[in-house]
Symmetry: C2
Subunit: 159 residues, 2 copies
């Protein structure tokens, strides 16, 4: 009763839901569609257990979902990067340390991060463009307002 892998405080689905601002249902759903891993060795009917790592991953998922607005299926592909990192960590802890395999996993991870970065940067540019356009529009309207106020500077002093 000492040498097992149940280290690091083990959270339950309700805890994770509270920590991430979602609901248990959502977490189960994400697991169901393969967006979250859903621990291999779990007896049918047994409670799901999570660690900090899983919480962070879920937060990443929610963030990408919110900011990129992708359908969950595409997000599933994107998140394969975290899978690679998780796999690496597991192999790391289990002491495998085959440098060739590690290189492979790390490179895979980089390529997935690059895919995420590409999407994020496109969004960033689109948002920037939108902001510029809105600012320009605002300037034009304010110019018209200044015009009106200039031509008859008698009416109204506070908006």
């Amino acid at each position: 009763m000492s040498a097992r892998d149940d280290r690091e405080e083990t959270l339950r689905i309700g805890d994770v839901a509270r920590l991430t601002g979602t609901t248990p249902r959502t977490i189960r759903y994400y697991e169901e569609i393969g967006l979250l891993p859903g621990a291999e060795g779990r007896a049918p009917g047994a409670h799901r257990t999570y660690r900090e790592e899983d919480v962070e991953r879920l937060q990443e998922v929610l963030r990408l979902k919110d900011l990129l607005g992708l359908p969950l299926e595409e997000l599933t592909e994107l998140m394969a990067a975290e899978e690679a990192r998780a796999a690496l960590r597991r192999e790391w802890r289990s002491g495998v340390q085959d440098p060739v395999r590690q290189r492979q996993i790390l490179e895979e991870s980089v390529s997935y991060i690059d895919r995420q970065l590409a999407l994020v940067r496109r969004r960033r540019d689109e948002i920037a463009k939108l902001e510029e356009d809105l600012a320009a529009r605002k300037r034009r309207v304010r110019d018209r307002l200044r015009n009106l106020n200039g031509l008859n500077a008698d009416i109204g002093s506070r908006s």
Copy 2:
């Protein structure tokens, strides 16, 4: 057959759909929920007609929807700015030109643009933060890779 308001080439719903990359159904739906105006004086059963102005407005709607990810109902509120601008333009063309009313409309327009800008800037910041985080993560992974390559510089030369 000369003095009417049917100036400016009048588009039909299919044209607008093609120009904006959507479908007629979507356009009707947006009109139905009040997100698009849906011309007042239209006989029941008659074809809808649009002008450049309407196309631009729809493009704005689609852009905000995509980039902000708001439910259409909230978007409807946000778009009240365009309504104000459209109203102003109509009064302008019809020669009303009551400066007090114009001031009112312009200020209303500014306040709606400000609301849009606030939302867009929040998004911009969130996206920027996400990009930074991803870039940092990538750096860390690449550092590990460099480490691996340093320790055994024999394997693999191209990624």
